[in-house]
């Protein structure tokens, strides 16, 4: 049990082993571990970015839906307003038409009354003429009698 040449040999073996293991085992594995760590970190960062993007998209979608709802409500309100207007317009128009019909009816009635009066007047005239003819047949003073007849018609019409 003493220190001898083995000591030198062991130093050589040890130093060689440190060098060999460093280049063959430690460095490649360490590099692989480091690159994996980086990859995992990148992946986590990407996942976080994805989550954020999803939240953003969700918020945007919600905003779009809210805007669409508002728009729809506006459209419905406008449609309701328009319907009310249309209803009112049609009511007014119908009323006007009714009034026009009534007016036309009244005018027609007036015209009818006038026509009836004229017919009546002519009939009366005809009757009067017939009567006059008969009177003429009886008394041949046509001129005086016609004057009397006209007077009688005028008074008759005024009372009619």
């Amino acid at each position: 049990m003493n220190i001898d040449l083995t000591f030198i040999g062991q130093i050589v073996v040890f130093v060689t082993m440190v060098w060999v293991l460093k280049s063959l085992l430690y460095t490649p594995i360490n590099d692989a571990m480091a690159s994996r760590t980086k990859k995992i970190e990148d992946g986590l960062a990407a996942a976080n970015a994805g989550v954020e993007a999803e939240a953003l998209a969700k918020a945007e979608a919600e905003a779009a839906i809210a805007a669409a709802k508002n728009q729809a409500q506006d459209i419905v309100a406008a449609a309701e307003r328009r319907a009310a207007e249309v209803k009112e317009e049609s009511v007014i128009r119908a009323r006007k038409e009714a009034e026009a019909i009534v007016d036309a009816g009244k005018e027609e009635l007036g015209a009818e009354v006038i026509r009836a009066r004229q017919e009546l007047r002519q009939e009366v005239a005809t009757i009067a003429i017939a009567a006059a003819e008969k009177i003429i047949d009886a008394e041949l003073d046509a001129t005086r009698h016609n004057h009397l007849i006209d007077e009688a018609i005028a008074t008759g019409l005024a009372t009619a």
């Binding site: 000591f7 430690y26 594995i29």
Partner: protein, 262 residues
């Protein structure tokens, strides 16, 4: 000068196995999800990296591979102890080699070689990183620095006189590091091996009648039980000593890397 062929042979076999394993693994290293052997080696390297990072104030790329080599190499050498006590010795005997001692860490040369290599690195970094500070510490600690700061010339002269004493004390302090490092490993492994041989003697019998007797059978049973127990315990000791050697090397080197305080 003589050379211990058994130590050299076993060390070279262990080293070749480690190199072969490294070469075999190197072709299969992937940066993706690791499997099998790469997993185990990565756990080991991660552990060594953590240990070095916890102790070192600065980054030195050689420390972690050094610690890894110390740990794995010593652990593998210690593990040879778990083979049956006389197996390798008797096998070697068949090839005409007398007095074959299989465990290289039982040979003082290996622990001393590793400890002195580490010690050499400590001295190298001490002189490289803070030469003035280390020389001052070597010559003026623990007694002289206060005396030399004094205005009184007589006290100052006393301080100069004390320099050899300081140097001796510091030398003992520094030499104690590799000495304790190597002797701790050697002592533990040597004692373990001796106990293995003693346990193996329980199993020895002169003849088949003796082996078949009640005492023989009891001795065999006790021997096997104690042998299994000691194997388990010694496996733990081998791991522990490898770890202690590694962590103390890292600590000594980290002390050399500490920035000078004054």
């Amino acid at each position: 000068m003589q050379i211990h062929l058994d130590t050299m042979l076993v060390t070279l076999v262990v080293a070749s196995l480690m190199i072969g394993f490294s070469l075999w693994l190197r072709g299969k290293i992937i940066a993706g999800a690791p499997t099998g052997a790469q997993n185990a080696v990565e756990a080991l390297i991660g552990f060594v990296n953590d240990t070095v990072r916890d102790n070192f104030p600065v980054h030195n790329p050689i420390i972690a591979p050094l610690a890894l080599t110390i740990f794995t190499f010593i652990f593998l050498c210690n593990s040879i102890d778990l083979l049956p006590a006389y197996l390798l010795g008797h096998t070697a005997h068949l090839f005409g080699i007398e007095h074959f001692r299989p465990v290289p860490t039982n040979d003082l040369n290996l622990p001393v070689a590793m400890a002195l290599t580490v010690f050499g690195m400590v001295l190298y970094y001490e002189f490289k990183l803070k030469p003035g500070h280390f020389m001052k510490e070597l010559l003026l600690q623990p007694f002289a620095s206060l005396l030399l700061d004094s205005k009184n010339p007589l006290v100052k002269f006393l301080g100069v006189l004390l320099i050899p004493l300081n140097f001796t004390l510091k030398l003992i302090e520094e030499i104690a590091k590799p000495l304790s490092l190597s002797f701790r490993l050697f002592g533990n492994m040597f004692a373990g091996e001796v106990i293995f041989l003693l346990i193996a003697m329980l199993l020895l019998a002169d003849s088949s009648e003796q082996l078949a007797s009640f005492g023989g059978i009891a001795s065999e049973l006790i021997g096997i039980m104690v042998g299994v127990g000691w194997s388990l315990f010694h496996m733990f000791i081998g791991l522990l000593q490898a770890f202690i050697f590694m962590i103390l090397s890292v600590v000594y080197l980290s002390i050399a890397h500490q920035p000078a305080e004054h």
